[in-house]
Every structure is written in structure tokens, then in C-alpha cells.
């Protein structure tokens, strides 16, 4: 199969998923106890009859359900994710404002987890059942079993309180209003602990996949050939095996994006990192439903896009998948 038709099918699938999230949001608004207008308005009170009337008109809440859904879809697809009464601002603006910090945090954590996880996985694959392998298993099991928010607080206790190396919260020092490089360094300084926290949680999965994939590859004939040629252990592991074993790890990274966003909610809350997760948390406490629903929609759309990109990327990277021969192992 060529790339174009597959791409077309994937795009259609992605569009269907986004439509499904839209429908889910709509259903949630109507299933929530009480008046849907009140759900859309949100807020801990202070909602006037006038505001409710405006919302009913804007969302056609007096019309039959199917025309409501149509109107709702139209609004959402034109980028109108609703209006936050707390901020008195469009939800989309609020989300876009907070998107940068979350993407920075998630991508940094993912890179750290990917690099460290792969490294640990390779270490463990060298001698299965050995001391190093057991150590790696122990470390990753502990990382997987620890609640993310607790790891974050422990890191704060050690590296902010006991040894004051890193700032306690926020994304930059409010006293310094620098720009350019000093600003970037300031953000990086604030980023260290949250990124490590998030990375620790996902380390286990990467190192496990990396180990399994390496063990698979290390049994292959071309590895025996490489060893027979007298190549060093390191050259065999990193130049020959890892290249071929990396694909499942990279795929997992793409598919993990949604879980990373979930983890980011907890980590951002611990470190007061001004991203989408913190906004979601604060909005729930304020009963700011339009913002919460908007974030759910936006985040899911991001996951769909991330999955789509992963899919396309590994089709391009791995010629076996591109040619559609991976399943059967023989050319067309």
C-alpha cells in the first residue's frame, strides 16, 4: 500500500475521534444534574438570569436536541470553546495562554524519560538475570509505583528545602523581569524538578519496552555476525542493536502523550507550573465548567494529533511498515 491512502484513512479516523469527543462534551453538559445553561455558565454563584438567558439563546437550549448539537458543533469547530465567567474571557484564549508551559514540561519530561529509559533498558538487556538487570527492574518498579505528586513533593523537600538548589514553585522568578538568555535560564532552572518528577513516572515503561525490544533484537543473526566480526560490545549494542530496537520505544512515546498530559495535571499542581493542568485543577475548584470542558476537548484533540503524527513518523522511519510488508514479512 502506498502512503497516501493510509494517510487519508488515518486522517478520517482522527476526525471521527474528534467528533466523538465533541459529542461526549455535549452529552456531559446535558447529563450533568441541573439546568444545562447553569452547567455551561458554571461559577460558584453570581450567575444572573440575564446571563442564563444569553446562554440559552447562544446555545439554542430551547430548541430540540439535534439542532442543539448542530449549533454546539458549529460553535466548537469555529474555535468557540465557550466563555469562562471567572476570567470573563474566551476559553480558547485561556487554553492557548497556558499551552506553552505544558508542552515545554511534557516534551522535556518525555525526552528525559526516553533517553534515560532506553539507556536503562539497554543496560538491563546486556545480561538478563544479572545484578544490573535486577537493579534496573527494581528502580523502574519503584518509579512506577510511586504517585507522581508524592515524588514531586519529596524532590521539593530534598532539593528545595533541605538543599536549596531549585525554586519551590512557578515557572520564573517574579522579581526578575529579564528577557532573552537570562529568562530562558530562569525557566530552565524552574523546569528541572517538575520535568524530573514527570519523567520518573514514565521511566519504567520506556525501560521495559527498551529491554524487551533489545532482547528481541540481540537474538538476531546480524547481531551474531557483528559480534563475529569482532566489534566491541558497545558498538554492537549501540550502533547495531539499539537502532533497530528503538522503534517500539519511539512508538510508545507517541502513544504516551495523553498519559503524560494526565500526569502533567498532578505535577503542575505540585509545582504551581502555569500550564493547562493547573488551569484544569483551578477551574474545577471554581466550578468553571466551560474551561474544564474546553480543556478536555482541546487536550483530547492534541492526543489525537500526536498519535497521528507518531503513526506517520514511524511509517516514514521504518521502510517495512511503509511498504505494508511488516505483517507478512514478504514484499508485495
Amino acid at each position: 500500500m502506498r502512503l497516501a491512502p493510509i494517510l487519508g484513512r488515518r486522517l478520517l479516523g482522527a476526525a471521527a475521534l474528534i467528533a466523538a469527543v465533541l459529542l461526549l462534551n455535549f452529552i456531559l453538559i446535558h447529563l450533568a444534574p441541573g439546568d444545562p445553561a447553569l452547567t455551561i455558565a458554571g461559577g460558584m454563584g453570581g450567575v444572573t438570569e440575564e446571563i442564563l438567558r444569553d446562554i440559552r439563546r447562544a446555545y439554542g437550549l430551547d430548541a430540540p436536541l439535534h439542532s442543539q448539537l448542530l449549533l454546539y458543533t458549529e460553535r466548537m469547530l469555529s474555535g468557540d470553546l465557550g466563555r469562562s465567567l471567572f476570567y470573563n474571557a474566551p476559553v480558547l484564549d485561556l487554553i492557548l495562554e497556558r499551552l506553552g508551559p505544558t508542552v515545554l514540561l511534557v516534551l522535556t519530561a518525555m525526552s528525559v524519560a526516553l533517553a534515560l529509559g532506553t539507556f536503562l533498558g539497554v543496560l538491563a538487556s546486556r545480561r538478563p538475570g544479572g545484578v544490573v538487570a535486577h537493579f534496573v527492574t527494581g528502580v523502574t518498579l519503584a518509579g512506577y509505583s510511586a504517585p507522581a505528586f508524592w515524588v514531586g513533593i519529596l524532590l521539593l523537600l530534598v532539593f528545595s528545602a533541605a538543599i536549596p538548589l531549585f525554586p519551590v514553585s512557578g515557572m520564573y522568578d517574579v522579581r526578575a523581569d529579564g528577557a532573552g538568555l537570562p529568562r530562558a535560564l530562569d525557566v530552565a532552572h524552574h523546569l528541572v524538578l517538575p520535568a524530573i518528577t514527570l519523567a520518573i513516572v514514565f521511566l519504567a515503561q520506556y525501560s521495559r519496552i527498551a529491554r524487551a525490544s533489545m532482547l528481541d533484537v540481540l537474538g538476531a543473526d546480524y547481531i551474531r555476525t557483528a559480534r563475529a566480526k569482532g566489534l566491541s560490545d558497545r558498538a554492537v549494542l549501540y550502533r547495531h542493536a539499539l537502532r533497530n530496537a528503538a522503534l517500539p520505544v519511539v512508538t510508545l512515546a507517541g502513544l504516551q502523550f495523553g498519559n503524560m498530559l494526565s500526569g502533567a495535571v498532578l505535577v503542575e499542581t505540585v509545582f504551581n507550573w502555569p500550564g493547562l493542568g493547573l488551569l484544569a485543577f483551578e477551574s474545577i475548584l471554581r466550578r468553571d465548567h466551560p474551561t474544564v470542558l474546553g480543556i478536555l476537548f482541546f487536550a483530547t484533540a492534541m492526543v489525537v494529533v500526536a498519535n497521528l503524527l507518531t503513526d506517520i513518523a514511524y511509517r516514514i522511519v521504518d521502510p517495512r511498515i511503509r511498504a505494508g510488508t511488516a505483517a507478512t514479512g514478504r514484499p508485495r
Binding site: 479516523g13 452547567t39 504517585p147 523537600l157
Partner: protein, 285 residues
Amino acid sequence: MTPRAPGPVRQTWGMVLRNGSAVSGLALLASVLAMTLIVPAFYPADPFDIVWRPLAPPGEAPALPLGSDFLGRDVLAGIVHGGRATLAVGASAAAICVIIGIAVGAAAGFYGGLVDGGLMRIAEFFQVLPALLFAMTLVSLFGPDFVTIATAIGVVSWPPIARLTRAEFLRIRELDYVRASRAVGASDRRLIWRVILPNALPPLIVAATLTVGAAILFEAGLAFLGLGDPNAMSWGLMIGANRDFALEAWWTVTLPGLAIFLTVLGVSLVGDGLTDALDPKRHDR
């Protein structure tokens, strides 16, 4: 008389008991269960009662071996009584997840075709939803009661179980003994529940075990965010409530977190041991 071979359950149990990580996991879980189910009877202090000055370090008051929290509540009482909510929600959520996952995966793998396609699209949908955000949204719209929280966690966690069940069903349904049962006229229901499912169980048991761990972490996360049941003390709730005082009073957050960590570690160790014990490829090791 020929000696009978031990049954499959007994065999598996034997393999589990020979596995170091499974045994240490079981021991860890047993102590956690004892602490949450038996110890409260001997330590009936109400974890919500204010009994001392706030943020007293461990050992300051003889009655408070683990100190007090930001309101002056007994941390030890919180740890002893806070396990029940966490474990109950974790176990119920995992049960919901496993039931949905097996039902969907079995139907998809057994019937194939359109049923399979449709069900797997639904699974895909729940897999792209950021789980915690979705659960937070449900709780914020429907309120933080036990049923909502357990359902929210279960509903977002079933796709991996469904995929695994489906894969096992696809493999097993073509095996000779299934064809034979089909040939002698076994009903679909019998084939699914009595013929295929029991043979698909080993990997599902491992996955279900790991699901319990994930559900406990999930509940702890929600409770930490203040979205758990506010009327039930739980480990996550303790950490969330004392978060702002964590740097002055480490014991208020470190100790409940340790309880969550050890519980999930116990579950993960058992899961790890089961993987080794149930994986036929590893028996020669």
C-alpha cells in the same frame, strides 16, 4: 495407582510461591491489608478529630507517634483509617475496568467483523481521552461520591484489557479444541465463557493485577487534587490537604505517600511475579 499431577491452580500457585518478587509483593500487600482492615479496630481514633496543636512533629505528644497535620489531626489515625477509601475505590474501579475490558474484548475477538471494528473504535476513543482530565471533569460535573469516582476510573482504564482479551480470543478461537467444541454444537455463550475465556486468563490475571495498582494511584491522584470523597479520609486526601505545609512538616505528606507507594509496589511486585510464573516461555529459567 498412578500419582495424579497437581491441578493447574495448584501448579500456578506453586510457581508464584517460588518467585521471589511475588512473595515479597504478597507479604507487602498482606501487611497493608492488615493495617487497613484490622488495625483500625485497635486504633479507633477518628482521623478527622482535632486533637493537638497543628503541625506537631512526630513524638512531641506521646499520643501522636506520627505527629499532627495542619489542623492538628492525628497523622497515624489518618494513615490507619485512610487506606480503606483508597483500597475500596481502587478495587472497585479495577473490577469495573476488568468487567468492561473482558466483555468488550471477548465480543470483539469472538465475533470479529463489524462487531470487532465498532468495539475497537470505541476502545480507541477511550484510549485517546486523557484519563485524569476526563475523570476530573466527571467528578466536577457529577460530584465526588464513591460511585462516580470508581466509575470514572474504570471507564477510562479498560481499553488495554479489552485489547489483550481480544488478542487472546483471536488466537485461541482457531485452536483445535475450540473447533472441536464448536463442531459438537456448543453455543456461543458456552464457547466464550467456558471454552475460550479460561484459557485466556493467565495474561489477563497479570493485566488485572497491574490495573489494581494503576487504579489505586489514580484514586490517590484524584484525592490529592481534592476531588475524592471529602467525607472519607484517604492517603491522597491527606497529602493534598497538607500540601501547602509540606516544607515545614514533612511527616504530613511523606508518610501517607509512603503508604500509597508501598501498596502499589506490593501490587506491582505480585504482577511482576505472576508475569514470570504464568509466562510459559520463562519456565525453563
